[in-house]
Assembly symmetry: C2
Homo-oligomer: 225 residues x 2
């Protein structure tokens, strides 16, 4: 008898989700920088499928604003101009605060455990700054904060806007002359301050701190770009 993991046959939907998450992470972690051309054929071969199901994934990513396909030319990772990016950030500020007001829920024990791990990763990064690890930690911390609200539509929208903007910000951070160590220090203070607000039980304050840091990081990006 088999008492191992559910062992559900990998359905078409699972394959879709796996490829979608994988390619999305590559885009958001700058493995594929803005402007990069993606090869349908190469990606299909990598995942062991034909172009048809892969194109479904690319179509979804295009709908999410991360890719753009042009007939006869290619499929490219999107890059946005500073104007629309400003609008997106203005909106992200408001939505970040909303997460602390709409259906805000206190962290459970599992989330506390994740926050402790994230804090430790942040401390470790101070001693050994690394762009890739910083990008991963930044994303994981953002996704953990989203678990503080129970409003599913709000979570989806915040996640979507984060994926659209953070890669542009990361690109700017890594391209600027500023030492990455500075950004890591600032981020570690953000983690520290937010966790302290959560320990007090002030979810709205935590959201406001996040809002402030999003605003400041955007300002730094604008100056260094």
């Amino acid at each position: 008898m088999n008492f191992e993991a559910p062992e559900t046959a990998p359905s078409a939907r699972d394959r879709f989700e796996r490829m979608h998450a994988a390619i999305r992470n590559r885009i958001c972690l700058l493995d594929y920088a803005p402007g990069t051309r993606l090869s349908e054929e190469a990606l299909a071969a990598e995942y062991g499928v034909s172009r048809t199901p892969l194109r479904r994934v690319l179509g979804r990513l295009e709908g999410e604003g991360l890719l753009q396909s042009v007939h006869g030319v290619g499929t490219f990772v999107t890059d946005v101009e500073i104007g629309e990016l400003t609008q997106t950030y203005q909106l992200r500020l408001e939505l970040a605060e909303l997460t602390g007001k709409l259906s805000a829920v206190a962290p459970d024990e599992a989330l506390w455990q994740d926050f402790r791990t994230l804090s430790a990763r942040s401390k470790a990064l101070i001693d050994a700054p690394d762009p890739r690890r910083f990008a991963e930690l930044n994303m994981d911390f953002f996704l953990a904060l989203l678990r503080l609200t129970a409003n599913e539509p709000l979570k989806e929208i915040c996640e979507r806007l984060y994926f659209q903007t953070t890669r542009i910000w990361l690109k700017s951070v890594f391209a600027s002359r500023i030492d990455i160590a500075d950004e890591v220090d600032i981020f570690d203070r953000e983690v520290h301050d937010i966790l302290r607000a959560l320990e007090i039980g002030d979810l709205h304050a935590a959201a406001l701190i996040q809002r402030a840091h999003i605003s400041m990081s955007f300002e730094r990006m604008r100056r260094n770009a």
Copy 2:
């Protein structure tokens, strides 16, 4: 020589947009009620294309939360439970108010003209209430109000949430025993009040009125459902 319309060859992208908007409107105007099964083959035949490009459109609509495809079963118009609908409406309230604060722009002459036409359509509907015309007018008025903000990401999100929720509300309205004439009267007053706020130049007030009406319409739906 040909001085007629631009006569641009209908590109693949144009066909995609046309089919997408057409099917989306059918869903949101209740031609396809929640739970309805859509036939890929029938729709492909209707638009004179093969299943492949049509499936691109269905995939996009699935990403927008309007459809859900299940392997071997069919493609169905989504229907949402009251719980998530409540969360979506809470979010829509906040976003509606944000449109009056983030990059709010006063209407230009073209928009004023559209508002006058919409107001006339509303008055005409009072004398001859009709569910289909009411649904169309409701959508057109909402889209006109979105033109009061220049924040593109905010517009996209508001539009997306509107398409997800208004069809559920319309279904509830049409299914309840309440005379449609009552809803038309209430809507006409909303149009009147918002236009008066706009004439004064108070964009925030206009957004607040819209917010109030969204809130009240949801409350009516909950009671009649």
